[in-house]
């Protein structure tokens, strides 16, 4: 396949940045999207140009490191996959592909397609954990009975890899799907009850302080989420937050 790529190039965080056109030929439909970018970068290096900076790590859809807004969609046109799992067979010979970084004020661009998603880490630090006494008499987690339905829902919420596609695709740059998944995975389990009130209040406060937008329930986040995190989690977080606010 021969393709035209329109890629966001930005030297550093303070650079204004712009879209730059590149031609790439002989792309195999079996390549992953990131492999295609690897080929482009090899060409750029060989011609003495600066390669395109982009995030990646496991390339198995687990780490949540790869991002990219491809042809107007987070992680590209495929569903339930991250960019590293997207294959070139999803495109046609002669296509023009737009490749941009995830855009949000809370996700500033560091270079080219690499964005700083540490806002997610700070939200997680604010309450996305449980405190466990490991003094030697810790209770075996498997000895605590948990309703099967809740266990499944908690597991589903816990599959969020924190890639930020929800923020990138939301017209409001809202992080509510991410935060609600992190709140839900504990709110549904007995181990998460002790810190439930502080958790939701602190995580939502941190989310607001980071400058993410307000959720308007468009549902775009759920559609683009590579792990299929459900909007049901946002409804649950809203209820948890209301309960915690009235209590606190």
């Amino acid at each position: 396949m021969n393709l035209t790529l329109k890629i966001w190039r930005q030297k550093n965080a303070s650079d204004k940045g712009k879209m730059v056109d590149y031609k790439i030929s002989d792309v195999s439909p079996d390549m992953s999207f990131l492999e295609m970018l690897d080929v482009l970068n090899t060409q750029l290096i060989e011609s003495g140009d600066e390669p395109v900076a982009f995030d990646h790590d496991c390339r198995e859809g687990i780490c949540g490191m790869c991002s990219l807004y491809i042809n107007g969609e987070a992680h590209g046109p495929d569903r339930g996959v991250t960019t590293c799992q997207l294959h070139m067979r999803k495109f046609k010979d002669g296509d023009t592909i737009y490749i941009e970084p995830f855009r949000a004020k809370a996700f500033p661009v560091i270079k080219d397609l690499v964005v700083d998603r540490s806002a997610f880490d700070r939200i997680q630090h604010a309450g996305g954990f449980i405190s466990v006494n490991t003094s030697g008499n810790t209770q075996d987690a498997n000895a605590i009975p948990i309703n099967k339905e809740n266990a499944d829902k908690a597991f589903d919420a816990a599959t969020c890899i924190g890639c930020g596609a929800c923020v990138a695709t939301c017209k409001n740059s809202s992080a509510m799907l991410y935060v609600s998944a992190k709140v839900s995975q504990f709110a549904l389990l007995p181990q998460g009850q002790v810190e439930a009130t502080d958790r939701v209040l602190n995580m939502v406060k941190q989310m607001d302080d980071e400058g993410f937008g307000n959720c308007t329930n468009t549902g775009a986040c759920e559609v683009e989420c590579p792990k299929g995190i459900s909007l049901e989690n946002i409804a649950r977080m809203n209820t948890e937050f209301l309960k915690a606010s009235l209590k606190g």
């Binding site: 937008g213 809203n238 937050f241």
Partner: protein, 229 residues
């Protein structure tokens, strides 16, 4: 509690609660308006009751005005805040791939509804306030000095729907109301945390409400335009 009102989720709750209140009001408004199609007398009686009963005039009306202003004002504030959360826009954004047009354009459907509402208030509400509280005529009669003249409400309603431009504007206003409700109805329930086993049924009901109610208002406007004598 103070944190609730300042938070993004608190604002969501407030928007949803004001929306649910306005949707209940719309249903009540429709229930009275549809009487005008079947029985002018029943419509006159209901209008006179709503227009003169103290609890409606001095309790519910101020709450409704507050609810309307709050919903619009909060909608615009949230839109401005949300726009500022993404300072650099995408060169290419395929919003249609993952969300409905209605959900992405609530501000525009809301803006058109606001324009319609201002015209609607000038047409009916301002006139009512003038007659009742400026001129001091609480009789509701066509001729206040003649009890036999009958109530004025049905006659005034029919008169308003004579000009085709006003009928067309009202119909367009209701189309935008339908677009707004198609996302807004269900969204309000999601915002207050109602996403459960009833969600599927609620979605079906929301579509019936969002299309059925504005369509009913359109039918009333057309009925009076074509049946005016």
């Amino acid at each position: 509690m103070s944190g609730l009102l300042k938070s993004s989720i608190g604002r969501k709750f407030a928007m949803a609660l004001s929306a649910l209140f306005l949707m209940v009001f719309l249903l009540q408004h429709f229930a009275i308006n549809i009487l005008s199609v079947f029985s002018p007398d029943a419509f006159n009686e209901a209008s006179h009751f709503m227009g003169t009963f103290w609890a409606v005039q001095y309790l519910l009306q101020p709450v409704l005005i507050f609810g309307v202003i709050f919903h619009f004002a909060m909608g615009f504030v949230l839109e401005i805040k949300n726009n500022s959360a993404r300072t650099v826009k995408y060169a290419k954004n395929n919003g249609g791939a993952n969300s409905t047009w209605m959900s992405r354009n609530m501000i525009y459907s809301g803006l058109f509804i606001l324009i319609f509402l201002i015209i609607h208030m000038i047409d009916f509400w301002v006139h009512e306030m003038n007659v009742k509280y400026v001129a001091g005529d609480m009789s509701g009669l066509i001729d206040p000095s003649n009890v036999e003249s009958g109530f004025r409400y049905f006659e005034e309603l029919q008169e308003k729907f004579v000009p085709i431009w006003r009928v067309a504007l009202y119909c367009l206003g209701f189309v935008f109301l339908a677009l707004h409700l198609l996302h807004g109805f269900n969204s309000a329930f999601q915002s207050v945390g109602a996403n459960n086993k009833y969600t599927k049924g609620l979605k079906t009901f929301s579509k019936i409400y969002a299309i059925g109610l504005p369509l009913g208002f359109i039918i009333i406007a057309l009925f009076h335009h074509f049946n005016h004598h």
